[in-house]
């Protein structure tokens, strides 16, 4: 039987705080040249440059993107009242991705006006539209159907994939290169501008979602039940859709398709401290940050000096994990 949480939330918080420096150091140390503390000065040394221009932004990007994926995963699961919901499974990431590719192919003017913000903005809008669509179609009188939700996700993933193929067909050689490059995902080619964008987004998303924690618990009782407790379910869903799509969309725009983080991380946290969203949301952000950073270390280390795409590593971990969750549920073990 799955326990309702074996540890106090504080215990997990302390454990993560103790692990965090190790993960951070591991990330800063992984790469072709080894950098010690003494190598950082003088500031025109190669080690200093590598540290400031490559290692540090990459660490911050994986921390921020992982935190966003962890917390939005937990939020989407609360909204769909199902632990199997994940932004990448139900098509939100794909919708964001399609919008991002469309921007790369047709949105030259938009990119001129908005610069680095064009892609995140369009990915956000794409993600928001798909979340809304999935919720709209999967909802019946009795609330949201899980089967329909996952089926709609399959359909949206297929539509987005063919949409992206179509867009590739219509793009010129330069754009095509850009699209292919972007689709491979990963955070290795991004810098401080992207760190800034993620920082800008994580503040409202994390604060907004964590403030909803208590309401999200009530939502888990059932939509009618929450409404009878005085919760405006429609308004709550609206907030969840906007904030989750913002978080997922911006991560997709910056790092491409990084799946399964939003599934694996909240599930682990739930196993350890129980399903209370007041703790689940912040702890999923924390664990998500460490999880993605560790996955990125693996991506760099496994076939060094070459690199695996980050999305491949998270899928290699998350895919089997997802299958085991389904098996576990099928045996009626929860």
């Amino acid at each position: 039987m799955m326990p309702a949480g074996r540890f106090q939330p504080q215990t997990l918080l302390i454990a993560l705080t103790l692990i965090a420096p190790v993960v951070v150091l591991l990330s800063l140390q992984t790469g072709e040249i080894s950098i010690g503390l003494a190598d950082l000065w003088p500031s025109d040394s190669i080690a200093h440059q590598v540290f400031i221009e490559l290692r540090l932004p990459r660490l911050l990007l994986t921390l921020l993107a992982g935190a966003l994926l962890g917390i939005t995963g937990a939020a989407v699961q609360a909204m769909f009242r199902n632990p199997l919901a994940d932004p990448s499974l139900i098509g939100v990431s794909a919708g964001a991705g399609l919008a991002a590719v469309a921007t790369l192919v047709f949105g030259a003017g938009l990119q001129l006006y908005l610069g680095a913000f064009a892609l995140p903005l369009m990915a956000f809008l794409g993600g928001m539209f798909t979340t809304w669509l999935v919720a709209r179609i999967a909802r019946s009188v009795e609330g949201i159907s899980v089967t329909t939700m996952l089926l709609v996700g399959i359909a949206i993933n297929a539509i987005a994939a063919s949409g992206i193929s179509g867009l590739k067909y219509f793009s010129d050689a330069f754009t095509l290169r850009q699209v292919v490059f972007w689709l491979m995902g990963g955070l290795q080619h991004q810098g401080w501008a992207e760190v800034g964008i993620l920082l800008l987004v994580i503040l409202p998303v994390a604060t907004g979602l964590i403030l909803q924690g208590r309401i999200l618990n009530l939502l888990l009782l059932g939509e009618r039940q929450a409404q009878l407790l005085g919760v405006s379910v429609v308004r709550c869903h609206r907030v969840l859709i906007v904030l989750s799509a913002l978080g997922v969309g911006v991560v997709v725009a910056v790092g491409g398709m990084i799946g399964f983080v939003g599934l694996v991380v909240p599930h682990l946290v739930r196993l350890l401290v129980g399903p209370d969203n007041r703790y689940l949301l912040p702890l999923s952000a924390f664990l998500g940050a460490l999880f993605l950073t560790l996955a990125d270390v693996l991506a760099r280390a496994l076939i060094a000096p070459a690199e695996l795409p980050l999305g491949v590593v998270t899928a290699l971990v998350g895919g089997p994990f997802f299958l085991s969750m389904i098996l576990y549920r099928r045996r009626g073990a929860d």
Partner: protein, 268 residues
């Protein structure tokens, strides 16, 4: 006083409820009885404001329900639904504590209230258990405790859709006795039940629904008649009420026997 007037309420081209006018005074325990599909759950949905009445009105203390905002409504009215779709491993105590949400009380007060109600429902030992691992009847009692936790100073109405489902005999009686006591303290209590004997034993008043219409309503002694109940359930019944003790006997069902034994054997 809760007043309900439904001229017509339709869904899927069918009248779910028609020509119903009822008022539920404070301090009264009313039970709604009727066959499957009579419109009992729909009636509670209209009273609780989960569905707006298409032609008609619901008022609570002379105020139209639609004008009371959701949170205020939750303070005045609590309802136990028939389904409980909770699918996450909260403890029984956590589930009950959630009921306190609209009251805006402190976490300590909520914990105390929840523990008290778990004790009332004889679930104190299970308070730390994972809700998902409880039996059907235990889950039902936890959910009932959660709804009772929602009652506060402003509460006027308590609605229950099949509160006894899955419960053993002891807890059926315990629940009904508790509901009757709540009504005695001034609450309007309305429950949908399937057992007419339990209903007659504990309720002040019976409301009989059939095919979306009011077939009879009134004090238990007025409604507890053999022909009234036989007509309600399409079943020959003999009822009595001696010394306030309701009894019910079912006769044989000739047409059922004919159907069962006269029918062709199934070929699958």
């Amino acid at each position: 006083m809760l007043r309900l007037k439904v001229e017509q309420h339709r869904r899927g081209g069918r009248d779910l409820l028609k020509e119903i006018e009822l008022s539920f005074p404070a301090g009264q325990f009313s039970v709604i009885l009727g066959p499957n599909g009579a419109g009992k759950t729909t009636l509670l949905k209209l009273i609780s404001g989960q569905e707006p009445v298409q032609r008609g009105s619901v008022t609570l203390a002379d105020q139209p329900l639609a004008q009371i905002d959701l949170l205020q409504r939750a303070r005045q009215m609590a309802m136990l639904t028939q389904e409980h779709p909770l699918n996450f491993p909260f403890t029984a105590l956590d589930v009950v504590k959630m009921g306190c949400h609209p009251l805006g009380i402190s976490p300590d007060e909520a914990e105390e209230k929840a523990r008290h109600l778990l004790t009332v429902m004889e679930l104190a030992e299970l308070s730390k258990r994972n809700y998902l691992t409880l039996s059907g009847g235990e889950k039902q009692r936890v959910q009932l405790a959660r709804v009772l936790a929602q009652l506060g100073e402003e509460s006027q109405v308590l609605l229950l859709d099949e509160p006894l489902s899955g419960m053993d005999l002891r807890h059926q009686h315990l629940t009904l006795a508790y509901l009757r006591a709540q009504a005695k303290q001034g609450l309007t209590v309305i429950a949908v039940l399937h057992d007419p004997v339990l209903a007659a034993r504990y309720a002040d008043r019976l409301v009989l629904l059939k095919q979306g219409r009011l077939s009879a309503e009134g004090k238990v002694a007025e409604v507890w008649q053999s022909d009234t109940l036989s007509a309600l359930y399409d079943l020959p019944l003999q009822v009595s009420l001696e010394n306030g003790e309701p009894q019910l006997y079912t006769a044989d069902l000739p047409e059922l026997n004919d159907n069962l034994f006269g029918a062709q054997p199934r070929q699958d």
